[in-house]
């Protein structure tokens, strides 16, 4: 959908390739909300470890990886000029294995069942490694890399590493491996998943889309050329240091500083837009970058002084807020464009315009729900409110994903309705 890498109309994946991942992500988001509400209301058996890893993986795999994979199927042909052949079949396989794998993983965390851990390892291993090798193979083959395609290479490599390490952890939890390096590999797994995969992908895509979507000045060349490589290199150095038993706090501080710098530059770029208009997606970007700064500032401090759980909790919530904000900003740009573009290109003169697919006012309402949810989570941590109070932000989280899910389904219905009931012209 962007004009940098040689998009061919024939290469653009069918709408449903992308939307099936977005719908999956929204459904997992709704389930996460229900899970949180159930836990707060004591409807679910409480096991602190199982609760934490369930929430983390519902968010990181169910929500974030689903959104990211859908976006990659759309963006790789466009940003990187990469052709993914038979995308519908490939997306279906990856999507189904991700759903089976994550569902069995969540139940494995709750029941500690060895067979479920094995099923999760097999499904996630095959599904995600298949997706990563398929995409990595194409990205590696690019001859003339742009800053975004190079960034994607590092982000995909990070996800590959995170998946392999995650499989080791799952098989250890299932009793299939002795887990001699469990603690070390767990830290590396989280570093590559959160900083390498998730954040690097957002950073590399932003170099392209922020300027494109919002008519901002370009990112400084130094940043767009070297930031992603530097972060990836620091993650590799951190891995080596952890294995050597060395303190990697200095690397964590550097990573935090780089992310703060990046977020600051992005906010600055957004304030220097040439034609500022009120658009929810800009607010999602601003909020996301602001939250990244807060999260990384706390992360930086935590590597210098000991911080209490309360402050660390704010760091986690703001990091989650950052990643969700950017994903929502992207979804509200991608979905209306995709539906309109595919229908128009096929010659449907009555194709809904982008604001008819998902009206910008609906995105603004979502932004308010999202902001209220994050504010209440942070307030509940800051003021150490009674656990019962968490039912409200948990409900808002459910509402946030439910809102998006409803609009995605409506977008799909509008797309299908136009194809079925309106006339097509040859042009």
């Amino acid at each position: 959908m962007f004009n940098q890498g040689g998009l061919s109309m024939e290469q653009a994946p069918p709408v449903m390739v992308v939307l099936r991942f977005f719908v999956t992500a929204s459904v997992f988001g709704v389930l996460l909300g229900f899970y949180l509400m159930g836990s707060v209301a004591n409807f679910l058996p409480h096991n602190e470890y199982a609760f934490q890893v369930t929430v983390i993986h519902l968010l990181s795999l169910g929500v974030m990886a689903s959104f990211m994979l859908g976006a990659l199927f759309q963006m790789l042909p466009v940003i990187a000029g990469v052709v993914i052949k038979t995308p519908t079949n490939k997306a279906t396989v990856v999507n189904i294995l991700l759903i089976i794998g994550l569902s069995s993983q969540i139940f494995a965390f709750g029941t500690a069942s060895s067979s479920l851990y094995l099923l999760a390892s097999i499904s996630l291993g095959i599904g995600l490694l298949y997706a990563m090798t398929m995409m990595l193979k194409e990205v590696i083959a690019i001859k003339d890399h742009s800053t975004s395609s190079k960034g994607m290479l590092f982000a995909l490599s990070s996800f590959f590493i995170a998946i392999v390490l995650g499989l080791y952890l799952l098989l250890t939890l299932g009793g299939y491996l002795d887990g001699a390096y469990f603690k070390e590999l767990k830290e590396i797994h989280y570093s590559f998943a959160l900083f390498g995969w998730l954040t690097l992908l957002i950073v590399s895509i932003s170099f392209q889309v922020v300027e494109m979507f919002y008519v901002t000045p370009k990112y400084p060349t130094l940043m767009s050329q070297y930031l992603v490589n530097t972060i990836f290199t620091l993650l590799v150095i951190k891995t080596v240091m952890i294995f050597m038993g060395l303190d990697s706090a200095f690397i964590n501080i550097l990573l935090s500083l780089l992310f703060i710098l990046y977020a600051g530059v992005t906010i600055h770029r957004l304030y220097r837009r040439k034609r500022p208009t009120s658009d929810a997606t800009v607010w999602f970007w601003r909020l996301g970058m602001g939250l990244l700064i807060v999260s990384m500032f706390i992360h930086l401090l935590s590597n210098i002084v000991v911080l209490n759980n309360q402050i660390m909790g704010i760091s986690y919530v703001t990091f989650i807020g950052f990643s969700l904000s950017i994903v929502f900003a992207m979804v509200y740009k991608i979905v209306p464009f995709l539906v309109w573009f595919h229908l128009s290109n096929q010659g449907y003169m009555e194709a809904p315009m982008m604001f008819d697919v998902i009206h910008p006012k609906r995105a603004k309402i979502h932004f308010k729900i999202h902001l209220a949810m994050l504010t209440l989570w942070i307030l509940s941590i800051v003021f150490q409110l009674d656990e019962v109070f968490l039912i409200i932000p948990s409900f808002l989280l459910t509402l946030s994903f439910g809102w998006l899910l409803y609009h995605l389904i409506m977008a799909i219905r509008k797309h299908n309705y136009t194809q079925k009931y309106t006339e097509k012209i040859e042009w």
């Binding site: 464009f337 010659g347 042009w427």
Partner: protein
């Protein structure tokens, strides 16, 4: 020949593509689209190629892209570009 001008230099993506596509779908034999853009609009160019439109893409010294697209294959776009 009627020139349809589209200055997309300060338009947010994907408005330029949306406007250009609208023009191309209604374009007559005696018309051509003259688009000015800060980026090379590859999706539009690929689309013009696939729909067998005549097109010309040039970048000026200010790094501004000039994109000319016509349905009529006999138009000499080289003579119409202002670079």
């Amino acid at each position: 020949m009627t020139k349809i001008t589209l200055d997309a230099r300060e338009m947010e993506h994907p408005i330029p593509l949306q406007l250009a596509l609208g023009h191309l779908q209604k374009m007559g034999q005696e018309e051509y689209l003259y688009m000015i853009h800060r980026k090379k609009p590859i999706p539009l160019i690929e689309l013009a190629k696939e729909k067998e439109f005549l097109y010309l893409v040039k970048q000026d010294t200010q790094e501004v892209w000039h994109i000319l697209i016509a349905k009529n294959q006999n138009i000499k776009l080289e003579e119409l570009v202002d670079v």
